[in-house]
Every structure is written in structure tokens, then in C-alpha cells.
Symmetry: D2
Subunit: 392 residues, 4 copies
């Protein structure tokens, strides 16, 4: 039931339709609670963010969609924003709500003890649905930052009931071709309990909501030592893996460049994906980035990221699945492991550069971007105004 | 929906019906992969184990049931074993299968690539069901030790499908008044993937099986930093918390005395339990110990353990729920936390000693057991034979 | 060699000289990278912060010193600030440098590849030393936020050499009655490597610097599962435990109220302290708080915190050390553990309230503060201006 | 100060002198506390273990030394054992003491409260030193399994003093050309405290002992999220990195094949090593394996392991150090990271096969061993007797 037969003529052919969605906020400033460093040329509005995202796609051919975040990316005319994106070769991807930057949400948003605040948080999602309809987006992405800091602060159980009710209202407002994606996270911004801390909780809520509710797996949102590819497999098996938020972590939710902390883990994740043919567009799994470029250049950081995901996917496609299955069924522990490692240890950088060249893209996107002069140009142009960031 | 109104006349009245199940194997030798230390007077057969378990109940009144493990506790006549237990004042509790000590299970039992081995593992559970019927037990307890050590060794997904089929066969063999309890564990004895690593996976299988399939939560089986009381709440909400395996851990699955590593965590767990009235017998939650007394005396270790659970439960019963709810609804973070802490900080040892005395039990069970001479007597009697332990 | 004989007449007598230092920044706003919630009455300058800190001492008698942070607490006249503090019954404690809020420090401060930036960071500490001399402070407290986010970003080794040189310059600028305290932290604000990630690294630098260089242990700065009381013991043994930064964590550096996440851990830490008589002022160990009151009221949060530390210390003083030593030497595992637990399980709240009353302090400091009207008064007075926080 | 200039003619030339020590116990049976699976052909005595180890060297040229463990490898005539090893092309490497399999050590060995038991443990090391002198070994390797399971069980501080005394006696018994290597481990076989839990503790004892006392870093012995290459760097900086115990872990001390869980981490470790020229024999760093082949074939498991270490070392040698340093000094975060990743992503398998072929070794050692018929031959020969394992 897990067979996947890559084309014999070109094992990497599936890469033609494989793409990665980039987040608008990756082009704005980000940081830690201690400091947000600023950079020259940082976008000052959604238009400039989308322009930057367009660069990533232009140099890699891998990033045709841009996630937006409301209200960070609020504009007067979303139809125009979508049109602007199309002109730059990209489209608006998922729409992310914001439940963590209003003073009212100090004790929770969709789970707040106060029904009025819950209603306000629900209403915000109706606004997001309107943005989706204006931009052509089909995915409403909810990361619920709600939680508590102290045992006893609130009833863990009551918060689940409130959450279920709030989500029900939102889900009922979605159309038949729209999806609700629910993310989970073990900790931060709350430090005793989170209301959706793990995949099990997210899945339970999605199962209760309906078929179009799916789970988002952010690779940085787990307890240490968690086997993430197992969860990928399990959510695929349940038919509920809606999207990835890719990034890297060594400690907490570090939001580093995907593939920079543990490239083998990224490969194992993509191996599970490819094993279930979930890398194909029809799977409905949206491969997104969610990262913070606190100290490195942002556009190159994004370029490196999408290349890293593509590289891991390419290696996963190179796994000799027949040999793997044979070794697994024979109980050949080292043999089966070796088949997987053979694919991982293969240097695919040249193969991928060849593919880019054949598609009219630069062999070395990072160098080509550096040589394009774009960074210097926007640094010169984008003076005055307020650099975009996580703040309102 | 979370109201629990303890009796105003005696907030601890519910303790009258609260009991803890002890594991037969806690009285045999246990240890680490490095060493199993032996002790004088260790039981050499199931009868002696049950005799020791009977001591725990005799001195505390808290432990009226003994879990048994097949084949460790295999005897020719299980009806007689149950009768022997009754004569000692206890009964046979859940029946635990063993899927980790047969050479055939090197690459898995219920998930093994080889259908013949899976069939063997399934058949073992039929044997356990027979033991249940002979002993009056109603709970079949499955801890699945299956997993892999190396990426690629086997298909994570295929193993889930095999597991689902194997569990289906077992569940179908259970009677209408019998439960299948499925435990999860993040790692050990396998170190890359476990086939039931988390509560989400266990719950998905239980949901697929049917109403009488429930999850077992072993307090030592989670990733570091996991909020266990949240899972307790979530499983209660899903109606699928079947049982606890209580113990303590600081690192891995340390199997230390429950309440010795983090007594506040145990209290928080029991607070969630009491908040949902799940401490009452009709909840169907079986409070069991699963511990290893590697270096300490076994019977006193068990006595300390059941007293620790009772103490945490007593403190949870003392929480002023009205004040807690009021503070929570008012958004009074420190106030609500303070209400919970007030109960935790209360010294209930005297209250519990009073209750024991009123019930004709010793005020200080550890001292009373020490003074009883039982340890010295069995040390003298139990010479020759092979001390019981985890081995066959 | 570790004997400590508490007074037979009053085991808690040592509490008379036990005190806790509070941080000025706890009274300003704090939060996560996602959001800083504001509150009414938040101080707008160092004077108001010290006034608030004075309240904690006034109601508890436990917090006679206030740590300040430069430049957050920069004033024109530090002599006047110290005088103002004295008028409020408190004194200026340690002086904390800031190495994380200057754009120059993006790639490090004392470890930056650029010698000019390192010189700037060193010079900042000379300024801090001047503040110490103006305020009467004797402790220069350095938390080094430096680190890297990506493997290869910089040489881990070279950064150590740069750090050693920078610290040498700072240490050489200290006077004979001044101490340099060096804190360690496993992660944040950098997520691949920190330059002082663990106690071993901090200690090595202190040993190289000289006798007056000591280690700061922040209870939230360790890897999951780290045994913190072991480190306390080891640093005391090395004569290099300079100070605590107390707080609580469940996940990362959560900076919650000390004792709220794991009160038993706090007790075990204080047990190691008391075992080595390090709770006495002559030990030179400075017991400080370093917390963030993101969602709860700040002054009550601090009051609760110092009470929690006192409570844990009181329990540690109640340990029956003779019985403990006897059981330990007899190899009585459960007996020795039981002696420790007996102290922990004792409810000391009444004893401590009695002591407060005898000292002319309120029995219930939280209630007394609430009833004092201070919060309402400052909320009314402190309008306009900019609320203090972590930002410059 | 960290420059390392690989030969321009052959960047991998240093591999000629790079070797890995294999443990005799890897060829015997091992397992978990749950089960030790047996395999056909498992050695039944030290001679057969050394014969198997000789196979690893014969097929890879990488493993010229075998660590032995006393008493597991006790023989009547150690001179003859060393001679036998030489005949098979290998030599006896470090000698490992055993402090965890005697009933006397239940509460500790070198730290036991009982001075008689401490003396016995010290005396065991004198025996090991005699074995070293008979076999030509120069390294006495001590892993101290001592610790406690329950808070209060023993004095953490007193145990350190006892340890210091015991180690002093052992160190004083070593000759001028012998080293004492002290390993640390965060947990297991004890679960509350270990007496040497971290590198800082091991280093402090080594510093107190003298120049010939060095730290052993076992890659599986840290808390989750620990940056191991940082510790490698720090121990090299202190001149006290004596040896590695290589293996892989995902959770606890899993003892899996090195490089199988996180090959990028292994590369980063070797990058720190190569950066300090510590891969050269004159560095005195002994690269050893310490693994358990619980479910896979043992000799192939060892072959895979030494190849993995060589591969990571080769990649580390390929790092363009000039480009790396230039990017680091320029503050080019992504550029410096990219230089490191370029080396990691290089597929060195062909290069290493070429080197093997040039040295008269098989290009594919695993296949060559499989085809050699050795496994079948020893399975046929080694019937009867008791298979070697961890037990006495």
C-alpha cells in the first residue's frame, strides 16, 4: 500500500510539479524577545514583501505562492494585491489569522474565558475568509497561540470546549472549496499549557469539524526527541495532513532555515511524503516555509530554504523503493537502512542545477540573486517609512 | 461542565472508594540493562508475588487488585490463583500480555513483517483472554514494544496497517464486558521509531477498534517537557482514558516510585482527574502502578507509592473549586494559581493517618510493615528456587 | 564534611538573615517575541521601578536589594538613585550589563569577529562599574547573549578566545571588593550555539579570570532533564557559585514565577544550599530573581516569588539532617528519601506567617498589598510617558 | 589560531593515519532491559571477539585497535591475548573497568558510602592496570555508573568527595605513560543523579588529578538539545579531550550505529576536530566506538560504523577553510554556513572507495565481508558454550 514508482526515465520528474509556499513575513524584520535587528532594504508594506517573494520564485522556480498574514498584510484592495502578485509571477497562497497581538488576547482568543473576546477572535476569521475570496486563496491557516502560564490559571478542559465552539463557528463560515488548517505547538507564547499543543489535539478538533479541516505540522513545534516523520506518516494515514510549516530548530521554536539544523530529518520527512505520493499536487499537502531570518539576509535565506527542501525531496525520490521493500520484507536491518542512506548520501546539487538550467533558471540561484543587484536597488529605494515586521 | 462538588462534610470522602492496582512484577527483581540486583526474600513464583502484594493492601487498604503478566505469572490453575488472591484480600486486576521476550519478536510482534509472527502474537492475546476469564479480570492490557532502530529499517506506514489488523483480531476476540487497553511509549526498547509512540496514535487505533478500546497513560512514556495532565484531560474528554501506569521519571522511562520525582506533577494530574470526577470507580479509569524497585526494598517501595498517589488525590480533593472557578472566570491569574497551590501546600499526612486509623489500619504503614517481621520471615523462607524477575 | 546544624531552639532562625534580590525589570513590561502586553500603573522610569520594588520588601521583609540593568535603568545621577532606594528601605544590588540590544551586536558582542565591536562591549562594562561605584553595588553581572544561528557561521573556538580576552579586560577593571558574575544559558537569543551555554564553560572562564569571578546559575537556562541541584552542589564545591537567577520553566527559558512549575525542584536546590550553609550571608551567594510577569500583576508576582523562595528555604531548614545522614550511611534508600520528603511535605505557611507577624509584617503579604491601594494609586498617577520594558 | 591547512595535493591525505578503535563487547550480545536477542555465530570468549574485530579491520583498514573490558574479557594470559590480536592484525586498545555488575555496587562503587566497597572498586582498577601492562595498552577507561535514584538517598556532595579520593588512588597507581580517561553520562543506570553527569564534572576531576587525566565524550550521554560539538571544542581548548565513545542516539543512551541518527552532527563534530588538527594521531584523541547491535548483524554493524566515521571525517577535511574563515570574518552568515554545507553535501563514497582500492582493500567492505563467508563459517563453528554478552 505504500508503493511509489518513480518514473524509470527520470526519477526526479515529479519535481516538475513540486512547489513551496513562502511566507510574506519572512521578508520583514523578525527577531527574539531580546532584539529585532533591522536591515537595509526591508519591505515597508505588503507590496514590497510580495515583490521580494517574487524574487525567490524568479531565481528558483520553486516558490509560486506567498502566504499572507492578516492584519500584517492588510491592504485596501486585496484584489489588486493578488493582481500585483500575479504580475510578479506568483499568487497569494494561504491566509493566516493573527490571534496574538491584541491586548484583549492576554488570556486567550478562541479559548478566552470571556465570550466577547472569543466572538471578536471568531469575527477576525470571517475577515480572513473575505481576504481569501478576494485573493483567490483557499486555505485559512490558524495557529492558535492560546494557553496558560500557571497551573490553575484556567481550566484546561473548559478551554477545549470553548475552542471547539469557536472553531465550529469558523468552520461553518468556510465554503465548500475552502479548507481550515489548524496548527499545533508545544509551547510559546505560553509556558504551562498550550490549548493545541500536539498533533493529537489538532487532529481531534479537525475530526470533529469535518473533512475540510486539516492539521498543519510546523517542524519546530514539538518536544525534544519527537520523531516528526512518524507524525507525518500518521497524519497522511488519517488523511489529515494539510500543510507543513517548514523551518529548523535545535532547541525551541527556533524558526531557522529549513534543513540547516538537521538535513537528514528533512530527508526522512520527505521520504515519508514521497512514500505516500504526498509530494504530488493532488495530495493537497501544502509545503510552506515559516521561518525567521533574524541575522541573515532575508531573500537569500528564503532561496537557500526552498533549495534545501527541493534537495531533500530529490533525495527522497532517488530512494530505490524496490530494493528498500525487498530488504524490509527480508528483515535485513542494515540492508534496508543502507538503501535509504544511499539516496541520502547522493550529492544531488549537480542534478538539480542541470534541471534549473534546462528550465531557463540559473544554475546557482544564490549567486545569480547576489549578482542581480536587487538587494542594493531596494536598499536604495526603500528609505523612509516603517520596516515591516511582526508588529502591527 | 467541570464541576465537582466534594462533600461539604468531608472533602476527602471520595477516598473511601479510591484504590490503586499494583503490578505483580514490582515484587520480583528488576533492573537496568546493566544489572539486576537481587534481594533476600524475593518471590519465586506468582503465588509469592501475590502474597507480597497482599501485604501492601493489608497495611494501606489502598491496593485491592494485582495486575498479572503472562507468561511471567503463568500457573497451571488460574482459578486457583484468583482464589488464593481472594484469600489474601486482593483480586486479580488487569492481565498484561508480553510481546518483547520472544526471539521471534526481534523485528516486531503485532507489526512484524512476517505474518506468521504476527499470528503468533495475536494468539498470545487469546491465551491472555482465557486467563482473564479464569481469574475474573476484565482488562486486557497491551503495551506494544514494537519499533525500529534505524531509518529505513521498515516502513513506518506498513507497520501501522499491520498493527491495525492485529489489534482488530484481538479486539474481536474480546467479550462485551472486556476492555482492550493500549499503551503508548515514546522510546525503548526501540530507538528510532516506536509503533505506538504517543497518545494520538494509541487513540486513533482505539477509535478504530470500538468503544471498549481505551488508552493507557504511563507517566514515564513521554518526551521531555510534555504536559501530561493536558493529555489526561484530553483523553477524558474523548472518553478514552482507560488506565494509568503510574511511576516517576527524570529522564527516560525511569520507572521510579510515583511522586518521588515531581510530586506537584502528580497532584496536577490528579487535579484533572478529580475535576472530571474520574477518581470515582464508575469512571472506569484504572489507577495502576508500573514501577521498578531496582535498589530499594520492594514491598515498602510499593507502600510508599500507593500512599503518594493517595496523598496527591487528597490534595486534589481539597482544591476549593468554587474559588478556583471564580478566579478563573475573573481572569485573576495569580488568584487562580494561588487557589490550586493552597491545596497542594496543605500537609495531608495527618488527615490521611486519621482516616487509616478510623478504618482499623496503621497510621504509619511503612513503620507497621517494618515492624511486622514479614520481610525477615520471607527472607528466611524463600531460599532455593529462582527469584522472579522480568526474564521468562 | 557537609554537616549543618540548625539551631535546636528554632530551626528557621537562619531565615532572619536570608534575603532575595529583585530585578528592576520585573516591574516593567515584558513579553514574548509575539507580544508584550501592557498594564496599568507600569513604571515609566527607574525611580518608579524602585518604588515598586520597595513595596515587595515592605510587605515581605524579604527583598532588601534591587538589581538594576544598564542602560534600562540609566539615570543622570546614580548616587541620587541609590539614596532614593535607601529612603524606600532597599538598596541597589547587582548591576547588569546589556549586550543584546544594539544593532552592532547582531553577530556577537564580547565575541564579535570585529575587534571594534568587542571594544565597545568591553567599554560598556566600564560604564557599569562606574554605576556600581556610584550606587554602592559590588556585583557586575554579565549575561552573554552571544552565539550563532547556523553551523559554520563563525568559529566556535575563536569565539571562546575572543571572549576570554574581553572578559580579561573587564575583570582587570574591577576593584578588589568587586565581583564579576558570569551567567550561562543553553539557547536564546541564538539557536545553534551560545558562547557560554553551560556551567562548565562559565566556570572555565571564571577560573581563568581569578578568585572574584563567579558563576551565575539561572534556573531556566538548562537543557531539559538537567539536574540543577547537582550543578548547585558542584559550583559550591568549586567555590564559584556567585548568584542565582531564580525563575521557573517548563520548556525553554520561560521566566515564570519561581516555584510555580516545580516547587520540589526549588526545595531540592535549597536543600543543597542549606547543606553547605550557603544560605548564610557570608557564603557570598546572592539569591536573585529574574522573571517576566507577562500576563500577571507584577508586584504581586514578585511577592509570590520571594515567598516561594522563602518557603522552600524553610522546608530545607526543617530537614532532619542527623536522621538523613544516618539513613544515608546505612544505605537505607527509602528511609533517607523519606526524611527529605518529610520536610518537603510539611506545610510551613503558618510558621512563616507567624514569623512575619512577630516581625511586624503582614501575615498574608499578597492580601495586605492588595488591600493597600498601592496598585490603584499608581495606576491613577502613572499616566502619560512610556511604560518601562525591555526596549531601550 | 585555528588554521588547518589540508594538503593541496590531496585534501584527504590525513585519512591515512586516521583510525578508529572498536569495542570487544560490540561482537557479543547486547540488548535492553527488556530483551537480549541472540544471534548465530556470536563469540563465546575474548578470543573469538578479537577475531571478529579483526575482520572489521581486514575489510576496512580503519580499525586497528580493540578495546577490552574487564572482567568480560578476562583471560588467563593477557600477553597471549595481545599476541593473538597482533597475529590478526590488530592490537589491544584501551582497557575498560566494570563498576556496575557486582551486587556490592548497588549504592555505588567509587562513591559508595561504605569505604570497604570503595576500596574494592579501586582495587579493581589496579587489576586493570596490570592488564594494560600485559597487553601494551596505555589507556585506563573509567565509566562511572554510580548515582542515586531518589532525592535524599545520599549526599550529592559527599559522593563527590569520595569520588575524588577514589580517583586519586587510581591515578596515583598509573605510570607516567598511562592515561586515566573519565567518562560522563547524564543518566542510566541511575535516574535521579549521576556522580559524573556532565563534561564539567569530569573535567573538574581530571584537572584535580593531573595532566594524564582526560575526559571521554560519549556522543549518547547528554541531555536532549545539547550541542555536542561545542563540548568537543571546549575540551580540546582545555587540552583534556582524551577519547570519544561514538554512537548514535535519538532519545537516551541508545547506542545505535554512529552516524545513523544524525550524520550532520557527526560531521560537525569532526569539523571541530579537524579545525583543531585533533584528527591527527599526535593529538592524543582516541576515536572509539561504543555501540550495541541489538537487532542487526554485529560485524557488518561495526563495518558500517567505522565507514560512517571515516566519511564524516573526509567531509570535514574537504571544508574549504580559507573560504570559511573569510566568510566568517566578513560576517557573511549564509556564506559561511554555505561553505560548511558544501563539504557536507559532497558525496565522498566514491573517493573513499578509490582510496580503499589503492590500499588493497575492497571498494565495498560490507559486500566483501558478506561474500567472504566468514559469518556462515563462525555460525557453524561456534556451537555450544555460552555466547558472550554484558553479563559476567
Amino acid at each position: 500500500m505504500t508503493s511509489s514508482t518513480p518514473s524509470h526515465t527520470d526519477p526526479l520528474a515529479d519535481l516538475d510539479t513540486f512547489s513551496i509556499e513562502v511566507p510574506s513575513w519572512a521578508y520583514g524584520n523578525s527577531g527574539t524577545r531580546f532584539k529585532v535587528f533591522t536591515t537595509q532594504g526591508t519591505p515597508r508594506d505588503p507590496w514590497e514583501k510580495i515583490a521580494d517573494a517574487g524574487q525567490v520564485h524568479a531565481f528558483t522556480g520553486l516558490a509560486p505562492r506567498v502566504s499572507i498574514h492578516i492584519p500584517w498584510d492588510a491592504v485596501d484592495d486585496f484584489v489588486e494585491l493578488a493582481s500585483y502578485a500575479r504580475d510578479l509571477g506568483v499568487s497569494i497562497g494561504s491566509v493566516n489569522s493573527n490571534l496574538f497581538q491584541d491586548d484583549d488576547y492576554r488570556l486567550g482568543s478562541l479559548t478566552n474565558p470571556d465570550p466577547g473576546i472569543r466572538a471578536k477572535a471568531v469575527a477576525h476569521h470571517r475577515q480572513c475568509l473575505e481576504v481569501m475570496r478576494a485573493t483567490g486563496s483557499k486555505d485559512l491557516k490558524i495557529w492558535l497561540p492560546d494557553g496558560t502560564n500557571y497551573p490553575g490559571q484556567d481550566s484546561l478542559r473548559d478551554r477545549q470546549e470553548r475552542l471547539a465552539e469557536s472553531l465550529r463557528e469558523i468552520y461553518d463560515a468556510t465554503a465548500e472549496d475552502e479548507r481550515l488548517l489548524l496548527e499545533y505547538k508545544i509551547f510559546e507564547p505560553y509556558f504551562y499549557s498550550m490549548d493545541v499543543p500536539d498533533w493529537g489535539t489538532s487532529l481531534l478538533h479537525c475530526l470533529a469539524l469535518g473533512e475540510r479541516a486539516k492539521v498543519i505540522l510546523d517542524t519546530g513545534h514539538h518536544a525534544p526527541t519527537t520523531n516528526i516523520e512518524f507524525i507525518v506518516m500518521q497524519l497522511l494515514r488519517a488523511g489529515r495532513l494539510g500543510a507543513f510549516d517548514f523551518n529548523s530548530r535545535n532547541y525551541g521554536d527556533d524558526d531557522l532555515i529549513v534543513g540547516s539544523a538537521d538535513p537528514f530529518q528533512l530527508f526522512r520527512i520527505m521520504h515519508e511524503i514521497v512514500s505516500q505520493q504526498a509530494h504530488l499536487p493532488e495530495s493537497g499537502v501544502n509545503f510552506m516555509l515559516d521561518q525567521c531570518h533574524n541575522i541573515e539576509e532575508k531573500i537569500p535565506g528564503q532561496i537557500r530554504s526552498v533549495l534545501n527542501v527541493q534537495q531533500a525531496t530529490a533525495k527522497a525520490l532517488l530512494v530505490d523503493r524496490e530494493a528498500l521493500l525487498a530488504a524490509q520484507q527480508a528483515g535485513d536491518v542494515l540492508g534496508a537502512h543502507g538503501v535509504l542512506m544511499d539516496a541520502y548520501e547522493t550529492d544531488v546539487r549537480g542534478l538539480l542545477a542541470d534541471r534549473r538550467e534546462a528550465a531557463g533558471l540559473p544554475r546557482d540561484p544564490l549567486r545569480a540573486f547576489a549578482e542581480s543587484g536587487y538587494a542594493a536597488r531596494v536598499a536604495a529605494e526603500r528609505v523612509g517609512g516603517t520596516q515591516a515586521g511582526w508588529g502591527a
